[in-house]
């Protein structure tokens, strides 16, 4: 297992595309850093941005979703494209170990991209943000949020990291299934949205059918809203929770849901790898 990990991490860290992606992440983040520090920063301004708001801005501008789907597809499909898959799979290592090593290396790349955003965001926040007390009690982490109240910062950071890991697991599963870089990228970008749309159409049709039953229609609508809140493309949004009526526990639920996505899509990816025949 260690040999496989060493092999994949060597492959990862010698990829120029990794550093290109990290650079692409850093550029807009540094631009926002510059803007916050020069244009918007005023020491005497009592309503200046909070650390949470700065991190939100950085994550939004970084376009992590697109970069992760592109890099994961390239990395995940490379061995099939180059033919090196024949050598790797014929050495006697078990398929699930091969999958785990590749998955871990690819996830590390996604984590590194997030880390770039986080590091610059935290530095920017430490320099320019309004400091705020972080309530780490259970009420502070799980309690009800008032309008415009912010979640616990650590919970938020973990939540965003788990969203990254959840979408990465989905994109890696797609790459293992399709094994063609271009198609994997396209499917990775559009598939989550297509799933949401299909669910939306089904909900619309069922609501129309159940027009007389207002309770059922309301439940269908709530189910769809809940699905949208936690399904892959929407969980990338960092504005969830800023509007009235949300609770801090939503962030914790989001963490749990994304752990579930990692296990679900990671498990499916492993199954695909174990069953794959190298034609």
């Amino acid at each position: 297992m260690l040999k496989l990990l060493k092999f994949e991490y060597r492959r990862l860290f010698r990829r120029i595309s990794l550093y290109v992606c990290l650079g692409i992440v850093a550029v807009p983040v540094l631009y926002v850093f510059y803007l916050i520090g020069t244009v918007y920063f005023d020491e005497n301004d009592v309503s200046r941005m909070s650390m949470f708001q700065i991190l939100q801005q950085m994550i939004s501008i970084a376009n992590l979703n697109t970069l992760i789907v592109v890099f994961t597809s390239i990395f995940g499909c490379e061995d099939k494209a180059r033919g090196t898959v024949k050598t790797i799979y014929s050495l006697g290592y078990s398929r699930y170990k091969i999958f785990f090593a590749k998955f871990a290396a690819s996830a590390t790349a996604a984590a590194m991209m997030y880390a770039v955003v986080l590091i610059f965001g935290l530095i920017c926040g430490l320099l320019f943000a309004e400091t705020s007390y972080q309530d780490v009690s259970s009420e502070g982490i799980l309690g009800r949020m008032e309008y415009a109240e912010e979640p616990n910062l650590v919970v938020y950071i973990i939540q965003q990291f788990m969203i990254i890991m959840g979408v990465h697991a989905f994109y890696y599963m797609i790459a293992e299934l399709i094994q063609k870089t271009g198609v994997s990228i396209v499917l990775g970008i559009f598939a989550p949205g297509i799933v949401s749309s299909i669910y939306g159409v089904i909900t619309f049709i069922m609501c129309n059918i159940s027009e007389g039953n207002s309770e059922l229609v309301e439940k269908l609508g709530e189910a769809y809203s809940t699905f949208l809140m936690y399904w892959l493309p929407t969980t990338m949004s960092s504005v969830v929770g800023l509007f009235g009526g949300m609770v801090k526990i939503d962030y914790v639920i989001s963490i749990i849901v994304n752990i579930g996505y990692v296990m679900l899509f990671g498990g499916l990816g492993m199954l695909i790898t174990c069953k794959k025949q190298i034609k």
Binding site: K3, L4, K6, F7, R10, R11, R14, I16, E78, D79, R82, G83, T84, V85, K86, T87, I88, Y89, S90, L91, G92, Y93, S94, Q277, I278, K279
Partner: protein
């Protein structure tokens, strides 16, 4: 001690409804250079992929080094299947270093194998700029990493010039002789296999037609005397009466007589003294190629494809 490096029992593979391999049972002894011959599409690569666990057989078993195939036994096997899998954005040395992590081998081994395949001068060159022959050599070098006991090579001389082909043959013979490594080599170029293999497996349409040692093949590929003469019917009768030759055949102007070369002068004497003019007499030996073609029906003979009804 295991007698066989590789055995298969009833290997069968279907893709959809199409039977690609049909009940293939082969036996490769340790130390052999086993030439796996068959035309394009015969099932050679499919058989190799099943042995290497790249494909699952529909039925059948694979035995490696005396026991059913396990991850441990596969780690003793090196392979090169179809075109070599290489990271084209990296140098030859970087490719070798990566694979040495999972295959085994030290930096010293890397340089040794690169030198062996004639790539020591281009170790730092990006593989994307390599010719087909250079990539093939690098693929062989990677297959040698970790000192495997069995090497499975699918068309290893593909894309190589005659000098390259000779170099690969020399490498195979050297490693087989010095280290006792068993080779399982597929090719449609019988001329190349003939020079190194000591056992042949002949496959066609997914079926293993025959396994035969080179000694047995030699015995079966006998001599014949070819005569161009008149009065062929009378000549055939005389040959039967004087030499007991029952299976001489007329082929156009010629009579093809399976016989030892030593009696060729006697044949000539008998025919001439019986009043049959002999215009031409030659001694032929059936080639391996002719024999194997007769077992197969279709074979790629070097640059062209020989098609037989």
């Amino acid at each position: 001690m295991e007698e066989f490096a590789l055995r298969t029992f009833g290997l069968t593979k279907k893709f959809g409804g199409k039977m690609v391999l049909n009940n293939v049972s082969m036996n490769i002894r340790k130390g052999d250079i086993y030439g796996f011959i068959g035309p394009n599409g015969a099932g050679k690569t499919t058989a190799m992929k099943i042995i290497l666990d790249l494909l699952k057989p529909t039925s059948g078993e694979v035995e490696l080094f005396g026991s059913m195939r396990t991850s441990g036994s596969l780690s003793r096997v090196g392979s090169l299947i179809e075109s070599p899998g290489l990271y084209t954005g990296c140098s030859a040395i970087e490719n070798m270093k990566r694979f040495s992590i999972i295959c085994g081998g030290t930096d010293k081994d890397i340089l040794f194998y690169l030198r062996m395949v004639g790539l020591e001068g281009v170790g730092n060159k990006k593989v994307g700029a390599f010719s087909l022959g250079m990539k093939q050599r690098l693929g062989i070098a990677i297959a040698l990493l970790g000192d495997p006991e069995l090497l499975i090579l699918d068309e290893p001389v593909n894309g190589l010039d005659p000098m390259g082909m000779r170099d690969v043959r020399d490498i195979i013979q050297f490693i087989n002789k010095e280290r006792g490594v068993t080779f399982f080599i597929s090719s449609h170029l019988l001329g190349e296999l003939e020079k190194i293999a000591n056992v042949y497996g002949v496959i066609n349409c997914g079926m293993l037609m025959e396994e035969i040692t080179s000694a047995e093949l030699d015995r079966r590929c006998g001599f014949s005397v070819r005569v161009r003469c008149e009065q062929q019917d009378k000549a055939l009768q005389l040959l039967k009466e004087n030499f007991g030759v029952e299976n001489a055949q007329a082929e156009g102007e010629f009579l093809n007589i399976p016989a030892d070369p030593a009696v060729s002068s006697k044949i000539n004497e008998v025919l001439v003294t019986s009043g049959i003019p002999v215009h031409e007499l030659t001694i032929n030996k059936m080639s391996y190629e002719d024999y194997l073609l007769s077992r197969m029906g279709t074979l790629n003979v070097g640059n062209g494809v020989g098609q037989y009804a």
